[in-house]
Amino acid sequence: MLDLSAKELTEHKLRTFLTSLGIVIAIAAIVSLGSISAGMDAMVKDTLRQMGADKIIVTKKITAGLGAPMIPAFDEDIVDDFKAMNGVDDAVPIIRTNYLGSVPLIGIEEKDRGFMQMADVDFKEGGWFFDDDTDSVVVGKDFAEARNLNVGDELKIENRKLTVVGIIDAGEMRGLNMMIALPYRLAQDLLDMEGKATVVLIKPGDITQADAIKEQIRDEYEDYDAMTTEDMLARAGNIVGTIGLITIGIGVITSLVAAVGIIITMISSIAERKRQLGIMKAVGASTHVIMMQILQESLIMSIVSGIAGLLIGYMLVGVVNNTLLAGMQIAAVTPALAAGAFLYGIMLSIVSALYPAWKASRTDPIEAIRS
C-alpha cells in the first residue's frame, strides 16, 4: 500500500522533511568525504610513484615557528656531498613546491628528468622547455583542462607571466598530469631561491643499499630528513588512512544522528497518529500491515533523501575540486561509492524505523475508539 504511505508523507511535509534531513546529511557527508579522501589518496600516491620506487628523497627538516616556510630550502651544493657518499649512483637537486596550495610545482633540469619519470613522457601538445628558458612552463593535461590552457597561453606564477610551451599527457601516471614543470633556474628565480633547492633525489647504485644510505644521511646531517620512496608512500598511506578514519568517524556520527533523528521523529509522529493507527487496527489491519506501512514510509523517505544526499555530496565534491584542488577533478564520486552510500542510507533508515514501526503496530485500537 505504497500509495497510503506516500500520502501520509505528503500530508505532513515538515515532519517528513525533518525525519529525512539526517539521512540527507549522512549520505552527503559519506559521499563527499569518501570521494575526497579517495581522490587525495590517489593524488599523493601518484605523485610519489612518479619519483620511482628506488629513490631516496632528502629534504630539510621543517623548523617550527612563525614565518618558517612550509617547504624549507637549502643550499644546492650539498648535492655534491651526497654524490660522494658510498653506494650513491647519482643525486640531483630539484625545486618542488606547491602552486595555489595543492598543485605540485617542479623545477628540474633537462638531464635530471629521468629521476621524475619525465624523460620519455608523451605530450598532448607542444614539448619540453630548455634549461635556460626564462618564461616557459609545461603543465599536465588535467591542470591544463581545469584552467582551460593551450600551448601559447599565458600562466601567471608569482606575478611573472609565463608561456605554456607543452601539455603533458602521461596516461596512467596521474601525478604528471596534474603538475606544473619549470626550468630549474627559472623556478629558483621565481621563488627567490637562487642557489637553493627544496629536495634532493638520490639514486643508489643498488636498490638494496637505499636503506643504508638513508640511515647514513640521517646520522650525518641532523638538519635533514631522508626517506625512501617506500617510506614516503607508507607515510602518505598513514595520512590518507587518518583522513579515511576521520571520514568514517564523521560517517558514523552523522549516521547515529540520522538514526536517532528518525527514531525520535517517527515515535513522536506515531504518538500523534495514535488515533489513525488505532482506527486502522480496529477495522482489521494486522500488526504486520501497520509495520509494513511505517517501514514503507521510511523506505520512501530514504530513497528521496538518498537522491538528495547524493546530489549534495556531488556538489560538495565539485566545490572541493574547484577550490582546494585548483579545478582538477581529483575527488570523484565513483558509481560504487554512490551506490554504496545510497544503499547504506536505505538500510540505516529502515533499521531505525524498525522500533517505531513495531511500536506503531502495537497501538491499542480501543484507545483510539474511546476518544
Binding site: 500509495d3 497510503l4 489513525q276 477495522v283 482489521g284 489491519a285 494486522s286 500491515v289 475508539i369
Partner: protein, 238 residues
C-alpha cells in the same frame, strides 16, 4: 434463512484494573446469544458496560473470563493478528465518533479494510464507490472527513463497515453525535441493511426509534443483563 448463533457469549466478565487494588467490574457474567439475521439493540445507562461488551463482541478486546463464539468459533483465546482477521472479515463497525482516517478521502476510507485484506487499490476503490453510492454519497467520494457533515461521515463509516461483506454489523451509539434528522437517516440505513441484506445487527443506542425497530432489546445494568424484550412479529423460533 436458517437460524444459527452468530454470537454466543458465555459468562463474560471484564475487569479493569487500575493500580494495585482498584478494580472496576465493567461486565459481571454476561450470557447472550444472537442469531443470524437478528436486529438487536443494547440499551442501558451510562457506564453500564455497553461499549465494553461491544468491544468484546467486536474482537477489539478480550474478556477477563468467559468465552466468545463468533459463528461457532471461539475467539476468546485468539492472538492479536487472528482477531484482526476476524474483525476484517466477519465484522463491520460503526462508532459514535465515526472514526474515519482524517487524511484519507471518503473512498479511501471505505476501501481501507479491503486493502488490509490484501486486495489491490483499483478493485477496493471500485467496490468502495459502489458502497458510497448505496449510502447516498455519490457526490462526496473525494471529500475528506472534515469536509463532510456528521451524518455524511457516519454514512461513510457504514459503507466502510460493509466493504468486506461481513455478516455482522456492530454499531456503538451510531446516532449519538447526530441531530434528529441525520440520526433518523442512519437508523433507516441500518434497518435496511438488516431487512434487505440480511445482516445481523447489534446496536448500542439511546435512540428510542432505533431501539424500537429492533427485533430484540437487551437491557444492561451494572455489567449484567437486566432483562430482554422481543418484538412479537419476529420472535425467535426454537
Amino acid at each position: 434463512m436458517a437460524k444459527r448463533a452468530v454470537f454466543k457469549l458465555e459468562k463474560i466478565t471484564k475487569q479493569y484494573r487500575m493500580g494495585e487494588d482498584v478494580v472496576t467490574n465493567a461486565l459481571c457474567g454476561i450470557d447472550i446469544e444472537i442469531e443470524n439475521g437478528e436486529y438487536v439493540a443494547i440499551i442501558g445507562p451510562s457506564g453500564s458496560g455497553k461499549s465494553t461488551l461491544m468491544h468484546i463482541m467486536g474482537c477489539l478486546d478480550s474478556p477477563t473470563k468467559g468465552r466468545v463464539f463468533i459463528e461457532g468459533i471461539d475467539v476468546s483465546k485468539m492472538k492479536d493478528n487472528e482477531l484482526a482477521v476476524v474483525r476484517r472479515e466477519k465484522l463491520g463497525f460503526v462508532f459514535q465518533a465515526y472514526n474515519l482516517v482524517n487524511t484519507l478521502t471518503a473512498v479511501e476510507n471505505v476501501a481501507l479494510p479491503m486493502r488490509f485484506a490484501g486486495v489491490g487499490r483499483g478493485e477496493a476503490v471500485r467496490r468502495a464507490r459502489e458502497l458510497l453510492k448505496k449510502v447516498g454519497l455519490t457526490d462526496r467520494m473525494g471529500h475528506k472527513p472534515n469536509q463532510l457533515s456528521g451524518g455524511q461521515q457516519q454514512r461513510v463509516a457504514i459503507a466502510r463497515s460493509l466493504i468486506n461483506d461481513p455478516d455482522i454489523i456492530l454499531a456503538d451509539e451510531p446516532t449519538g453525535n447526530l441531530d434528529t434528522k441525520s440520526g433518523q437517516e442512519i437508523v433507516e440505513l441500518l434497518e435496511s441493511l438488516n431487512r434487505k441484506m440480511g445482516k445481523t445487527i447489534v446496536v448500542v443506542t439511546h435512540h428510542l426509534g432505533l431501539a424500537q425497530r429492533a427485533d430484540r432489546r437487551i437491557y444492561i445494568k451494572d455489567g449484567k443483563v437486566e432483562r430482554e424484550e422481543r418484538k412479537a412479529s419476529r420472535k425467535r423460533r426454537r
